[in-house]
């Protein structure tokens, strides 16, 4: 499967976006979010971007006040996931123009639509930014 979940969390540890590709109950979700957010936020810039948690890995990257956390299987290519996070940020940048936390909060569904074009069932499906954004623009037009 590859990607198990994608989380966007701000510096205060508040979830700003959550997409799971495997089923978890609400309780287990909030427990998991609490645990890994605590783990990742405690790390400093020099430390590597990978944290092992239970039976999977979390690859994370920080952009200003936002943390992007991606949970992946143990055999996933961690370095590629880092690039994937960057691609997601670039796509959002292109759509929103210098994206910030508020853009994501107020346009949650658009970020989800974008993500839908990039990842399906935990697999990366598209990496071309204009292909990712076309369906979104189609909706804005209609």
């Amino acid at each position: 499967m590859g990607i198990r979940f994608i989380l966007l969390v701000n510096k205060q540890g508040q979830t700003r976006l959550a997409q799971y590709y495997e089923y978890l109950t609400l309780d287990r979700r909030s427990a998991l979010e609490g645990e890994i957010v605590r783990k990742c936020l405690a790390r400093n810039e020099q430390q590597c971007s990978f944290v092992e948690h239970r039976n999977y890995k979390v690859v994370y990257r920080r952009y200003a006040s936002l943390f992007f956390l991606v949970g992946v299987d143990n055999d996933e290519n961690e370095l590629a996931i880092l690039e994937f996070i960057h691609l997601l940020v670039e796509s959002m940048d292109r759509h929103f123009g210098n994206v910030c936390e508020l853009d994501i909060m107020f346009h949650l569904e658009k970020v989800h639509f974008m993500l839908e074009e990039m990842v399906m069932n935990g697999c990366i499906v598209e990496t071309n930014k204009s292909n990712i954004l076309t369906p979104l623009q189609f909706m804005d037009k209609s």
Binding site: E78, F106, H112, E126, M139
Partner: protein, 892 residues
């Protein structure tokens, strides 16, 4: 209509307001209140079937769901939204479907029809939506229903549809692997795609099919290896493609997926591996590595080289790349290098050994993720040749490492030291070092094993006890160091004082008897000591009281001081020990002899078999596995119970030890013995002997006393409490006759009393149950013995099973002193009732019956399993039979 909704949505006054309100909340309670209010409004709107606000309601629900609140009431709204005609409604509906529902919900079946229609829709975006939703959440039933539609979409002219159809199929074949063959040839066609998205999806589909079907693997290996190699070659050699640029590298994701599929095809197949050698070499040498994206490709390529069939040239190249990664300054790259080296060990351990020094440096890194990887790697790299320097490095590092890392590090060091403990002295030295540095992190079973080893190393006991004494002077806050030291001083105190058994290079040590007692007194009075340490100290003091006559008075005072201890365990011991010192001068010295040598082999095999609970630190009331074999026969006079005086040194014989509970009343044999085995370290045994009889000593045989004693023997929080529940005691320990002799030991010592023999009893509470019926099994059969199990269960308690065991003697000899024991994994609790007899007539002329009650705490997930051991005597010769039972009927 569509415009109106979009309008309402895009103006977003209400959605924005809600998000603002939630952002403005200062406490969680405030947030809950806002969400509750919003949910109430949404529910009202839903029940009015308000279509204008459906879009907005769903958007709000998604936000609320993200915050972790239940939103099930909005599920039907998603379905309605999907069923409507416009693209925006469908879009939000499908998004809601993916976020708010999951494949387990019945509601999901209702959407199958809408999905089917949308998969056939003329608008490609709508087809894309339906495929994406299906790919994210479809259940097995939906997969079967809609697979033909998806298969058809592989032919679509739009590559964006083809790519989504391919990924949708990934989920379909995962849910229904039988469908894989339908997708085999469409998937193979996709591998020829020029469109990156369609190609990456096709590669992913092939990869997943290879995982579920061997047939598919063979198919793709034959038909597609060349094509894939060509595709990869094109990507590597193609000019720069700006639309797929990822920080200067053209589409690293596609490279990675291609390499990954090649890895699966090449693994275990020399021809396929051969075919991809050139391109792998090309990727390994040509990829730019100054960017993360390039490193990612190289990393994947190295892994593929390691996995496919042997090509030594490529492997050298790969290992060199890893070496370069390892010395990189970027922590991410070092992390993946360590990760890869773990896998490379299987291929070329020698090459990985060359990086040992660098890896060892990584163990000391400031980054926890890197340390953890490096430590695991080092653990795999240890062998006979490098174990000494590596252990030294690790132990040195233990002194300065972070507190949170010490646990992991200690565990690994102990594990290495135990595994390579060919030299006893080295093992003891290193263990003492670890105990002094990080004794608080050492697991109980580790130091129990150390004690067993010390007890077996007669030439090192003096040296060990002196080293421990020295270590204690410098690090007095490590609990398990104190425990081992206290035990050793109790046993080998005179070696400490008299410098017995000096080794060549050892410095002589001047310790007076009073110094040794000082150490014990400090341990017992140290307020952070746990009960185990204090109890061990008491026993050690008692032992020294006979060996150090000069300190006898002082010891007696310390013991008397603890007669008023609030901890029942300590109070009880002090009272008993005081009585031994005061009233039984004549037997004291023999009673307090050194422990017989502990049986190392049996301890280790028990540890390996996992029947030993992880923290079996304290004596439990039920520990018949006493290796000090002090009891000769159940009918022996009392003197034999503590017969450490008999001229022939007590031989450690486990079968002898097993008889001890018999002596104390047949009922005790039925305690769930092997499940909660106490460690075989000798102190406990003595404590056992002395504490079991207490209730009798007070001339008040009260069951509850015994229960609480047993309970208190266990330091709070250890699993033993769970493993030896008090309940099994209650129906049995009620016979004063059984315990009287022990009372005599402590209060009168009357040799005329003899032990009551095992009483045969049939258990009252196993009668009259009528649970589900299970077939009987032959649990064990050898040429001499047959054991049959029949099962019954009470319907209201499915976790417990009553097992009636029947033992039949197949030989022509009579078996006497027949004892059956059983051990179970940790998730099972076992309760053994007394056997109907301990004599088994020959040639199947009669049998012994015994009831067992097992409680499977993971009923429905794990099956029962049991190890058994049967001990008996033929013409006074001990016979032991062991076996494992795995053929329990399912459902127990």
């Amino acid at each position: 209509m569509a415009d109106l909704i979009i309008d309402a949505f895009s103006s977003q006054t209400r959605l924005r307001d809600m998000i603002r309100a939630i952002r403005g909340c200062k406490t969680a309670a405030e947030e809950r209140a806002v969400v509750r209010k919003e949910c109430a409004v949404i529910r009202a709107s839903i029940s009015e079937n308000d279509q204008d606000y459906r879009h907005r309601n769903l958007a709000k629900l998604m936000f609320i769901h993200m915050l972790g609140y239940p939103t099930h009431f909005g599920q039907m709204e998603c379905l309605k939204s999907i069923a409507s005609a416009g693209f925006p409604e469908k879009r939000i509906g499908y998004l809601g479907l993916m976020l708010l529902l999951d494949e387990r919900q019945e509601v999901l079946m209702l959407v199958t029809n809408s999905l089917k229609q949308d998969l056939n829709h003329s608008n490609p975006y709508i087809v894309g939506l339906a495929l994406c939703a299906l790919g994210n959440i479809c259940s097995a039933e939906m997969a079967r229903d809609l697979a033909p539609e998806v298969e058809r979409l592989f032919q679509s002219r739009d590559p964006n549809i083809r790519k989504k159809a391919a990924l949708c199929s990934v989920r379909i074949i995962k849910k229904v692997p039988d469908l894989a063959e339908n997708f085999m040839s469409p998937a193979a066609t996709l591998l020829k795609e020029k469109h990156h998205g369609a190609l990456i999806a096709g590669v992913q589909l092939c990869t997943d099919m290879c995982k579920v079907s061997l047939e598919a693997l063979e198919y793709f290996r034959k038909k597609c290896t060349d094509g894939l190699v060509k595709a990869l070659k094109e990507r590597v050699n193609s000019p720069y493609t700006p639309e797929y640029d990822i920080s200067g590298i053209s589409d690293p994701f596609l490279h990675i997926r291609l390499l990954r599929l090649l890895r699966i095809l090449g693994k275990g197949d020399a021809d396929a591996s051969d075919c991809m050698n050139d391109i792998l070499a090309q990727v390994a040498t040509k990829t730019e590595t100054n960017k993360n994206a390039g490193t990612a490709i190289l990393y994947e390529c190295v892994e593929t080289i390691m996995s496919i069939e042997d090509n030594s040239g490529l492997r050298v190249l790969a290992i060199n790349i890893l070496g370069r990664f390892l010395s990189n300054r970027d922590n991410n790259i070092r992390y993946v290098a360590l990760n890869m080296l773990m896998r490379a060990i299987a291929v070329d351990a020698q090459a990985v050994q060359r990086h040992r020094i660098t890896i060892l440096e990584c163990v000391k890194d400031s980054d926890a993720s890197i340390r953890k990887r490096a430590l695991e790697l080092i653990f795999l790299l240890v062998n006979e040749n490098n174990v000494k320097p590596l252990t030294k490095e690790l132990i040195d590092y233990l002194q300065v490492s972070d507190q949170e890392f010490k646990g992991d590090l200690t565990e690994k060091i102990c594990s290495i030291v135990e595994k390579f403990s060919m030299e006893k002295k080295w093992y003891i030295d290193k263990m003492l070092k670890v105990l002094s540095e990080a004794g608080n992190f050492v697991k109980d079973e580790i130091w129990h094993a150390l004690i067993v080893a010390i007890s077996n190393a007669s030439d090192l006991q003096g040296y060990t006890v002196r080293s421990l004494y020295r270590a204690l002077q410098t690090s007095s806050e490590q609990e398990s160091l104190i425990q081992v030291a206290v035990w050793c001083i109790g046993e080998y105190g005179e070696m400490l004082v008299n410098n017995v058994g000096m080794l060549e290079k050892e410095d002589p040590l001047t310790v007076t008897e009073s110094d040794a007692v000082d150490v014990l007194e400090a341990a017992i009075k140290r307020h952070t000591s746990d009960i185990t340490s204090r109890a061990l100290s008491l026993v050690a003091l008692l032992k020294l009281s006979s060996r150090f006559p000069s300190c006898s008075k002082r010891i007696s005072d310390i013991i008397i001081e603890h007669k008023g201890s609030f901890v029942l365990e300590l109070q009880q011991r002090s009272i008993e020990f005081n009585s031994i010192i005061d009233k039984h001068q004549n037997i004291r010295s023999t009673l307090l002899e050194r422990m017989p040598v502990l049986d190392e082999a049996s301890y280790n095999s028990k540890r390996k078999s996992g029947s030993l609970p992880p923290t079996a630190s304290a004596p439990t009331g039920a520990s018949p596995k006493l290796p000090n074999g002090v009891v000769k026969s159940p009918a022996a006079p009392m003197a034999d119970l503590l017969d450490l005086s008999s001229d022939d040194a007590p031989v450690p014989s486990s079968s002898g030890g097993d008889n001890l509970p018999d002596l104390l009343g047949g009922s005790l044999t039925s305690l769930p013995s092997l499940t909660g085995q106490a460690p075989s370290n000798g102190t406990d045994i003595l404590m056992e002997l002395l504490s079991i009889g207490t209730p009798a000593a007070q001339n008040d045989v009260s069951t509850s006393d015994l229960l609480s004693t047993n309970h208190n023997n266990t330091p709070s929080g250890t699993p033993l409490e769970r493993l030896s529940p008090p309940s099994p005691f209650s129906p049995q320990v009620s016979t004063p006759t059984a315990t009287t002799p022990v009372m005599d030991l402590l209060d009168g010592f009357s040799p005329t009393l003899s032990m009551s023999n095992k009483k045969s009893s049939t258990d009252p509470y196993f009668s009259g149950n009528n649970g589900p019926v299970y077939p009987s099994i032959i649990a064990f059969q050898s040429s001499s013995l047959k054991i049959e199990f029949s099962f019954s269960k009470q319907p209201e308690n499915l976790q417990s099973t009553l097992i009636n065991a029947t033992f039949t003697n197949m030989s022509s000899n009579i078996y006497t002193d027949f004892i059956f024991q059983a051990a179970v994994p940790k998730f099972i609790q076992l309760h053994l009732d007394p056997a109907s007899s301990n004599t088994l007539p020959a040639s199947g002329n009669g049998s012994i019956g015994q009831s067992l009650r097992v409680t499977n705490s993971q009923h429905g997930q794990k099956h029962l399993a049991m190890r058994i051991r049967v001990a008996y005597k033929i013409n006074n010769k001990d016979v032991l039979e062991q076996g494992q039972i795995t053929n329990f009927p399912p459902g127990l």
